[in-house]
């Protein structure tokens, strides 16, 4: 059978031309492996929140709007809105609210104790709305009673080992006992809602309604989700929501200079499309998905280009066979089938090999993308067959050009010469090489810009000092009330330079309040971000005071320090002594006593907004300790001192520079991925170039020998062989420059503070590309040039 004949020939050719086959198969299999890994990542991201049974009818209700010209788009809402909507609108049939703690918490069950970060409170309807897999417990009762706690399998194992935790207790912050009422399966990670500990909302209702603003329509802290009826018209619900807060507050918010519009956000769109303030957790990015997908295609394209180029160049070894087959009666169609068939065989071998590469590369890939992907889905027959079909299609496409090319030659032209040489100046092949290097150089330029920007972010003056600052989270009220004695004790320690307490630290989420500046009307309310701090905060963080004075006593409890941006926004040239009203009807205000230089209290991705600091009394959330650079001994001393004062919790701390740098995890991940894929793309392009150049050099062995016999030096031979290649790489560079420029300026626009692009980035990247190309391509040439000339001639 013809097909059997083709497979046999394909396999024999693979063994006959080992290096060529190895380069081809390796290149394609790497291309397949990387594409499949990236596809698994993309699918994982796209599937977020799809597992809920009623996913298409579940919506979050964020708020967008304006406060005195300052735009607002927040993921949270007020507590009463959801139950009110269910009562008022028949299209909204259920709701669940979630409150997330933003501070660290402490859980223990007497023997096992840990600091944790992820505690959320949710209504008892949680399992009616979401389809998280409750493997133990009753979904109707698990979150009904106050102080009920549902945990994940992982957490259960951490605290209770193999014992059944249902009915057992965990203590929160050494104060509140929670009863375990349910266990969730660990595969909750494909949701934008992170769950480790899920407590009942009724706990908040029991504790302190006022503290949590459960009845307040103007306190926005709750992630609010609703389920609509099957045929609900979403547009009409959005219209209904538009003035809902106005109706409930019974005021015209616009007259107050405020616009607050709740709206529906489909749950499946949150993970990749939502970039609101106060997201429950850092979301992914659709842009990232596009970038990764494009890069996967590029890698595969480079692998296919290599295949086409190498197979075409190599086909001169097959010309005798082609001519004989034609003479013996094969028509062009048969030859095309044969060569495409061989390409498909190679592609299938490459695909099989790629499955091993995938297993090998998965841990590295997970590290780069910061996920815990498994590849269960690709072991399903459906996917395996789909990828096999994909490999066959790649084989057909990649094999087409060489097949048409090889089969086009006239047998008599081949027979007239003993050896038929293809011109190494084949235009199509050169176009493909240029294309590969456009991609490679674009990647080199992009990677260097990503890294430069990341370094810029890391080293850009922030207006405060994040290095050598140790942060201790303050977990509860007793600790907060004891803060002065803690500070006194720690301040005495050697190595401690300064110590301050505050309700917030740089890099965390900040909340804003509307203030009416002195001399302005009620409708000119300004949203100002704010937090509380003691008199040591500015010196501990090295924040510069440029006007007025610092806090110096409890008498300053109605005083505030503001930043430069607020001064500029209010057009205050002499801000000291001016008032900011937070309750203008009752004449309640705060007085400005000082102005600080702007500092980046949030990430460099956001512009510095107006900021206000008031004096910290009993609501400390963080202790910030400036210590000397050789801080191991100092930390130990602080730990011992802490344990002497408050041994209810194990000593817990983190360094400010670590938590601040975590703001750029997404960018770091992108940087890691970019460099990995750039190296891969360069490797593939170089592999292909090596194969092509080896072949081309072999073609010119006789010429090299003759030139050497007549006196050419090795250097002259290498220059002759690299001249053409260098020309093509330079052409590729100049084409890569505008493409790279467009891509990187678009990416850099995500940053408020960014690097200036320099021509040297482009020049150096081009030189790197050129160097790699020349070394790769001339490796074989140098070998040939160094050989005894008679060997070259004897070879012929």
């Amino acid at each position: 059978m013809l097909a059997y004949n083709y497979i046999k020939i394909a396999l024999r050719n693979i063994f006959r031309y080992k290096i060529f086959s190895l380069i081809n198969i390796l290149g394609l299999s790497i291309g397949f492996a990387v594409s499949i890994l990236i596809l698994s990542y993309v699918l994982n991201e796209l599937e977020y929140d799809s597992f809920h049974e009623n996913a298409d009818n579940i919506y979050r209700i964020p708020i967008k709007g304006e406060i005195s010209g300052h735009k607002l788009d927040i993921a949270v809402n007020c507590a009463p809105i959801a139950p009110s909507l269910v009562k008022d609108n028949p299209n909204i049939i259920n709701y669940v609210r979630i409150l997330k703690t933003h501070q660290q918490i402490f859980f223990n069950n007497n023997s096992v104790k840990y600091y944790e970060n992820n505690l959320i409170f949710a209504d008892s309807t949680f399992f009616d709305i979401f389809s998280f897999n409750l493997i133990k417990g009753d979904k109707n009762k698990a979150l009904k009673n106050p102080h009920s706690l549902v945990i994940t399998e992982e957490i259960a194992k951490k605290y209770f080992g193999d014992k059944n935790p249902i009915g057992k207790q965990l203590k929160l912050n050494n104060e509140y006992n929670y009863t375990i009422t349910g266990i969730i399966k660990n595969n909750n990670r494909k949701s934008h809602i992170p769950i480790d500990f899920l407590a009942s909302f009724s706990t908040l209702e029991e504790n302190d309604k006022i503290q949590y603003g459960l009845d307040s329509w103007t306190s926005f802290n709750y992630y609010t989700y609703i389920k609509t009826s099957q045929n609900a018209n979403i547009d009409s619900i959005n219209i209904y929501l538009k003035n809902y807060l106005d109706r409930k507050l019974k005021i015209n918010l616009k007259e107050e200079g405020v616009e607050l519009i709740p709206y529906l956000q489909a749950i499946k769109k949150i993970h990749l499309h939502s970039k609101l303030m106060n997201e429950i957790e850092d979301n992914g990015s659709m842009e990232e998905i596009y970038i990764y997908s494009i890069i996967a295609l590029i890698i595969l394209l480079i692998a296919c280009i290599n295949f086409i180029n190498l197979t075409t160049a190599h086909s001169s070894n097959r010309l005798k066979e082609v001519s004989i087959r034609k003479i013996l009666g094969a028509n062009r169609g048969m030859l095309i089938h044969q060569f495409i068939g061989e390409a498909v065989v190679l592609s299938i071998i490459a695909y099989t090999l790629s499955l091993f590469f995938i297993e090998l590369l998965l841990p590295v890939f997970n590290n780069v993308v910061d996920k815990d992907l498994n590849l269960i889905f690709i072991s399903k027959p459906y996917f395996l067959l789909l990828f096999l079909l994909f490999a066959i299609i790649v084989g057909i496409i990649s094999g087409s050009y060489p097949s048409f090319f090889i089969s086009s030659f006239s047998p008599v032209k081949i027979l007239k010469r003993k050896i038929f040489k293809f011109s190494s100046k084949s235009r199509f092949r050169n176009i493909l090489v240029v294309f590969q290097f456009i991609i490679s150089i674009t990647l080199i330029i992009s990677t260097s810009v990503v890294y430069t920007q990341l370094n810029f972010i890391k080293n850009e003056p922030l207006g405060f000092s994040k290095n050598n600052v140790l942060i201790i989270p303050i977990l509860d009220k007793p600790m907060s009330e004891n803060i002065d004695s803690i500070k006194k004790a720690i301040d005495k320690l050697p190595g401690v330079i300064n110590i301050a307490s505050s309700s917030n630290i740089p890099g965390k989420e900040y909340s804003g309040i509307g203030f009416t500046p002195e001399g302005m009307s009620k409708d000119k309310t300004v949203l100002i971000y704010n937090f509380k701090a003691d008199e040591n905060y500015l010196s501990t963080m090295d924040i510069k005071l440029i006007q007025g004075r610092n806090f110096n006593s409890q008498a300053d409890s109605n005083c505030v320090i503001i930043n430069e941006t607020l001064c500029k926004q209010l057009n205050w040239k002499e801000p000291i002594g001016k008032k900011l009203f937070y309750d203008i009807s009752n004449n309640k205000s705060l007085t400005v006593i000082g102005v600080i230089k702007d500092y980046h209290y949030r990430s460099l991705k956001t512009k510095i907004s107006p900021l206000l600091i008031s004096l910290c009394k009993n609501n400390t959330a963080y202790l910030s300790i400036k210590i000397n650079p050789n801080y191991n001994a100092t930390i130990n001393n602080i730990k011992l001192t802490w344990q002497n004062i408050d041994n209810r919790y194990p000593f817990n701390f983190f360094m400010l520079h670590d938590s601040y740098d975590n703001l750029y995890i997404l960018e770091k991940r992108l940087g890691k991925l970019f460099i990995s894929l750039t190296i891969l793309a360069l490797l593939l392009a170089s592999l292909g170039l090596y194969g092509l150049a080896s072949f081309s050099t072999k073609q010119r062995t006789k010429e090299i020998g003759i030139r050497r016999v007549h006196g050419a030096t090795v250097f002259q031979i290498v220059m002759m062989l690299s001249k053409d290649l260098s020309k093509w790489v330079l052409i590729a560079s100049f084409m890569a420059w505008p493409i790279s420029y467009l891509l990187i300026t678009q990416w850099l626009n995500h940053f408020q503070y960014k690097i200036e692009l320099s021509i040297w980035t482009f020049i150096i990247s081009t030189l790197i590309g050129l160097l790699i190309a020349i070394i790769t391509a001339n490796f074989q040439a140098i070998k040939s040039a160094l050989a005894n000339p008679v060997e070259s001639l004897r070879y012929e």
């Binding site: 005798k320 066979e321 009666g329 062009r332 008599v412 027979l415």
Partner: protein, 235 residues
């Protein structure tokens, strides 16, 4: 069987033009063994390539079995070639990736003969040419004489009406060369028409008729005594 009338072949490139064949009138009857002799560059191989439908003539008429080849498409020429013509080359031109069995079988694959029939015929011809014990060998494992025997087996397995042999003994020593010529003579005796290009006079003497080419023209024609004895030739 083959007839050319004022056949011409001109090779052209940017700088010059060569008349490889000049207004050649040539015919071969069925069952004949014709040898074309001449020095290098006389046009022997060019003529053979045209007769074998693997090259095109520039002008003139060429009839193959009564069919005017001038107007045939590439596909038609391929079909005529695979069903009627066998080729033997000086440099054997076996496919290196195929073993002896597969090389010999190849023409039958292109003729779409079924596997069972192919096996039968291949085994037969290998036995006939004493190649059965080498059937799994690859060309590089064979001597020159053995390779040429394989080429002959391949050329006859499709039961061609005519065999075109271009310097079949050119790369062989005298003993192997004689063996190959004996094979060709036997094939001719069995009825196969053979046209052979050679510059070896002793090889040419195996033929019934010898045609001498010089600069693309026939300058002489000689028939052997055997030609007159075997007068069963037809067109």
């Amino acid at each position: 069987m083959i007839e050319t009338i004022k056949l011409c072949k001109v090779f052209r490139n940017e700088n010059f033009e060569t008349d490889a064949i000049k207004s050649l009138d040539f015919n071969v009857k069925k069952g004949e063994f014709v040898s074309i002799v001449g020095a290098s560059g006389s046009g022997k191989t060019t003529l053979l390539n045209i007769l074998g439908l693997i090259d095109n003539h520039t002008s003139g008429e060429f009839y193959f079995n009564g069919i005017n080849v001038n107007n045939l498409s590439l596909r038609d020429k391929t079909n005529i070639r695979k069903n009627n013509i066998g080729f033997i080359f000086q440099s054997f031109n076996l496919i290196d990736e195929l073993n002896v069995y597969e090389n010999v079988e190849l023409p039958l694959i292109y003729q779409k003969i079924k596997a069972k029939e192919r096996k039968k015929r291949t085994e037969e011809i290998l036995a006939q040419l004493k190649l059965t014990h080498r059937k799994k060998y690859f060309p590089f494992q064979l001597s020159g004489g053995q390779q040429q025997r394989v080429a002959i087996a391949r050329s006859v397995i499709g039961k061609p009406k005519i065999i075109l042999a271009d310097e079949p003994t050119g790369n062989l020593d005298s003993i192997n060369g004689k063996e190959v010529m004996e094979l060709l003579a036997n094939l001719n005796n069995e009825g196969t028409t053979i046209i052979m290009a050679t510059h070896n006079i002793s090889d040419a003497n195996y033929a019934n008729r010898t045609v001498q080419l010089f600069d693309g023209n026939i300058i002489s024609e000689k028939v052997s005594k055997a030609y007159y004895k075997s007068s069963n030739f037809s067109n």
